[in-house]
């Protein structure tokens, strides 16, 4: 219940702040990430909890983050983000790259 509340809360805010121990909740719906801009602390690992609310699978894909993670439809995935140097790290849903785009900003 708490996590659902948190998810709703964070999904409503366009830019979510990465916390040290709480995962950053991201939803994929209609092949769009929300939030699509994810801020994390630089030089600290973080975690994205991705909910795929679509019917079909998609692949969270980012060569700069070095992550390829298939998430089936209506499933969730814990995606570990390594400690990042300050900068922008784009990611996409590879199966629907036209709309599913986002960026992790480490600062």
């Amino acid at each position: 219940m708490k996590s659902v509340l948190l998810a709703v809360l964070i999904a409503a805010i366009p830019i979510s702040q990465g916390l040290a121990d709480e995962p950053i909740v991201v939803h994929l719906k209609n092949h769009k990430f929300s939030p699509s801009t994810i801020k994390v602390k630089a030089n600290k690992p973080s975690m994205i909890l991705l909910y795929n609310d679509d019917d079909g699978a998609d692949e969270f894909d980012s060569s700069s983050l070095k992550i390829e993670r298939v998430v089936p439809g209506h499933a969730k995935a814990n995606i570990r983000i390594r400690a990042l140097a300050p900068g922008k790290y784009p990611f996409m849903g590879e199966f629907h790259a036209a709309t599913a785009q986002g960026v992790v900003i480490a600062e």
Partner: protein
């Protein structure tokens, strides 16, 4: 339709290049078509299974099941490629000499064919499960766009197979005497690239979190993810020799270690060239 074509093309090319190398490496070995076909068939079946149970798989190992699975099958492929190269180093010379004497080769070839069949199976399994999930998602949506997407997928498959066939044809242009050196070199780099990729999966699972900082970044020059004008070239280099635009320390260590390990093992079994060796290298 174009999106489907591109995605399927990308995945097929990755598996296809590996099949091409395996076919070139087994030139003249009887039964290789069957071994490769078995590998592809097992890979496709495995891909459907992985796709069907993707959710369950991901749930294992505290949510890192997918990463651990990918790392495991990659390392299995690295082991098989290493074994093949070492085996060939101890038997390659006599094989090259007796290229036409098929009788001797049937025995030698069969051993390493099984290993290479597994490599093909792993390559098809990895890339195939993504294609299956992608196409399944489209098919589930139904409607007229699904037909176009399936057609796109078919074209992507054909285009990927064509590029792989061209690379295979190119490899066959290498003189027979040199082919063994070229393919064993390619297989060494292929194994090293897979080992580096396995390290990334282990790191994403929260294991092996050492040397994670990026050592250099040439993604502005040649990205490795298939994006941009040179993207396809970078992606092919990524598959073939493990080119990574922004490698971290652990990846480089795994890459270098694998190359050194294979070369040392090959040299060890090859040193007394005339001494017969045991069946297991």
């Amino acid at each position: 339709m174009i999106a489907a074509l591109i995605i399927v093309f990308r995945e097929v090319i990755e598996a296809g290049l590996i099949v091409g190398i395996v076919l070139a490496a087994t030139t003249g070995v009887p039964g290789r078509e069957r071994a490769v076909a078995m590998g592809i068939l097992a890979g496709v079946l495995g891909a459907c299974l992985v796709a069907a149970f993707a959710g369950e798989l991901a749930g294992l190992f505290q949510g890192s099941g997918q990463e651990i699975f990918n790392a495991t099958i990659l390392l299995l492929a690295v082991a098989m490629l290493t074994w093949h190269n070492v085996w060939m180093a101890s038997h390659g010379r006599e094989m090259a000499r007796e290229l036409k004497a098929a009788g001797h080769q049937v025995k030698t070839g069969e051993r390493t064919l099984a290993a290479l069949s597994i490599v093909v199976g792993v390559a098809v399994l990895r890339e195939g499960s993504e294609v299956v999930l992608f196409l399944y998602g489209i098919a589930a949506q139904g409607g007229t766009s699904a037909a176009g997407m399936i057609a796109g997928g078919g074209l992507g498959l054909a285009a990927g197979a064509l590029v792989s066939a061209l690379m295979y044809a190119g490899l066959l242009k290498v003189p027979a005497g040199k082919l063994f050196q070229v393919t064993s070199g390619l297989i060494t780099l292929l194994a090293a690239g897979m080992a580096a990729q396995a390290v990334i999966f282990l790191q994403n699972a929260g294991w092996l979190e050492f040397f994670t900082s990026t050592v250099w970044d040439t993604s502005w020059l040649l990205p490795d993810d298939g994006q941009g004008s040179l993207g396809l070239f970078g992606k092919m280099l990524h598959t073939l020799v493990g080119y990574t635009a922004a490698p971290n320390g652990a990846q480089l260590i795994a890459y270098g270690f694998t190359i050194v390990l294979i070369l040392v093992l090959m040299r060890m079994v090859n040193a007394p060239a005339t001494t017969p060796r045991g069946r297991h290298a």
